[in-house]
């Protein structure tokens, strides 16, 4: 078995070095690690208030050490999603009826409530594999591939990176590139931008007239430059600069905007033709720009205080959609006795609205070039607090559990509000909990 493993390791090393044009280091039995597989498993529940999104997720990450810092990693995540998601439409003073994304059925939201679309049910499977190894003194190479699949979305990603150690390995510079090719295949096909939601059509084969292609593509290129610096015997600093360029279909095919009366600000009322069932208002599919360039800075400090570890991270992100964000996050891990620990966690996130975020669209006014009422592109703040408890067994394995509370609050832009919206604008704010059980073991 050991021989076979060594062969696999050598084959992977040779393949990686082939890519680099470098010579594969020889395998040495002396460097063979004691345990070969390092495995993390987790069962996670994510649940939002008011019967919104619920996710049960099972994950595994296995890292195989082939010796001499040559490592293979394999990851798997399966998500099962249910619940309701805000459609982008605003609450109205009357009940509002909408056609589902498939275009075949309708649902009605009571007066005064934010419209939620509960027609989705999704299973997501993501797998990834990565390889890393030294390829010259002080240099390490890594490469990986990942795919994820949902019934309406496919992702393929490739990444590669190089790290170089300096200053007696106290400084590590890293450079990595990732490319992603995604395919969006929405239920009921891709809506035509700003097309009005149509009446329900009970047609198994056809798609509504307001739809264009059955799928669209999205390409993403990410570049990451990082520095990890040992500041002292107890202190580690990490700094990252990231650049991300997305192009293609960046619109959310399920999100809509409400057309409102230009004086009262209330949703315009529409009566479906006799015999038809359909929207009781005018709702237009959103339209976002087809490119986005984002830059970010991330700093993380890890400090040991005689066995207690403080981790503080800050991220600044800015992009050409004018969504700028600040994220501040901290964890403090302290031992409880010989074999357990507690780790409180807090996170604060704040972002500005995208330039094309619109709370609603006034009837009769010219359409903007781009518009989205997705609250995730609004001015928003989010807070997380959590606690993790971990215990190491006598066999050296570790189990842990964590519970976190997440709260998101977004703001309707005051300058966009019309008539009755002023003082009454509602945003789809929510609370969520994250509950996770993890087990880490070696084989």
């Amino acid at each position: 078995m050991a021989e076979k493993d060594k062969l696999i390791g050598s084959a992977l090393a040779a393949a990686a070095c082939g890519l680099l044009g470098a010579t594969a280091p020889r395998t040495s039995i002396a460097a063979e690690p004691e345990s070969k597989w390092d495995i993390d498993t987790a069962l996670l529940y994510y649940g939002e208030s008011d019967d919104r999104v619920q996710d049960a997720s099972l994950s595994g990450l296995a890292i195989r050490d082939f010796g001499e810092d040559r490592k293979l990693s394999l990851g798997l995540t399966v998500d099962s999603l249910t619940g309701a998601s805000p459609s982008g439409a605003i609450a109205g003073d009357q009940p509002q009826t909408f056609t589902t994304p498939s275009g075949r059925e309708t649902y009605t939201t009571p007066a005064g409530e934010i419209p939620l679309d509960d027609s989705f049910l999704d299973t997501r499977v993501a797998i990834d594999a990565g390889w890393s190894q030294p390829f010259a003194r002080l240099y390490t190479f890594n490469a990986g591939v990942g795919i994820s699949s949902e019934y309406d979305y496919q992702h393929l990603g490739l990444n590669a990176g190089v790290t170089r150690d300096f200053n007696q390995r106290n400084t590590t510079l890293s450079f990595a590139v990732a490319v992603g090719k995604d395919k969006v295949k929405p239920v009921g096909n891709v809506p035509i931008p700003f097309a009005a939601m149509s009446d329900a059509v009970d047609d198994e084969d056809g798609s509504p007239a307001n739809r264009a292609a059955d799928s669209e593509d999205k390409d993403v290129v990410d570049v990451l430059l990082g520095v990890t610096q040992v500041l002292g015997r107890h202190t580690l600093l990490r700094l990252n600069y990231s650049y991300s360029d997305s192009s293609g279909y960046l619109t959310d095919p399920y999100k809509i905007l409400t057309v409102v009366d230009p004086l009262t600000g209330d949703p315009v009322v529409r009566t479906p033709p006799p015999g038809a069932s359909g929207p009781g208002g005018i709702y237009l599919f959103e339209h976002r720009l087809d490119s986005r360039t984002r830059q970010g800075l991330y700093a993380e400090l890890r400090q040991d205080f005689s066995g207690k570890v403080l981790q503080v991270g800050y991220r600044y992100s800015t992009d050409d959609w004018e969504v700028d964000s600040h994220t501040l996050e901290g964890r403090f891990r302290f031992p409880l006795g010989e074999s357990s620990y507690l780790e409180p966690h807090a996170r604060y996130y704040s972002q500005s609205a995208a330039s094309f975020y619109r709370y609603s669209l006034a009837d009769g006014a010219p359409l903007p070039e781009f518009a989205s009422a997705d609250a995730r592109l609004a001015d928003l703040d989010a807070f997380t607090v959590g606690l993790k408890y971990g215990h190491t067994t006598s066999g050296g394995n570790e189990w842990s559990t964590r519970l976190e509370f997440y709260r998101q609050e977004s703001k309707a832009p005051a300058e966009q509000l019309i008539g009755n919206q002023i003082g009454n604008a509602q945003m789809p704010d929510f609370d969520a909990i994250i509950l996770q059980f993890s087990y880490h073991f070696k084989l």
Partner: protein, 74 residues
């Protein structure tokens, strides 16, 4: 701010490669840094699960590493 990022990056890189040459520890002083809880990728599974949640719920993401991909439509 956007135009300042490359400049800031240059400064950081120079600090890291030049200024930091005086920082750090000797190989025999790495006992604390070698601990599992001092590794940059400690809690890597928690971190990647969190990153995916926030990617789905917020307008910006990434920065720490590369994400796992997916729609995040809901």
């Amino acid at each position: 701010m956007r135009n300042k990022l490359p400049a800031l990056l240059t400064v950081l890189t120079c600090l890291a490669t030049a200024g930091c040459a005086n920082l750090g520890v000797k190989p025999w002083e790495r006992d604390v840094l070698a601990r599992d809880d001092m590794q940059p990728d400690a809690n890597r599974l928690d971190t990647s699960l969190d990153d995916h949640i926030y990617f789905s719920k917020e307008g910006t993401s990434g920065g720490r590493g590369f994400g796992g991909g997916g729609c995040g439509c809901n």
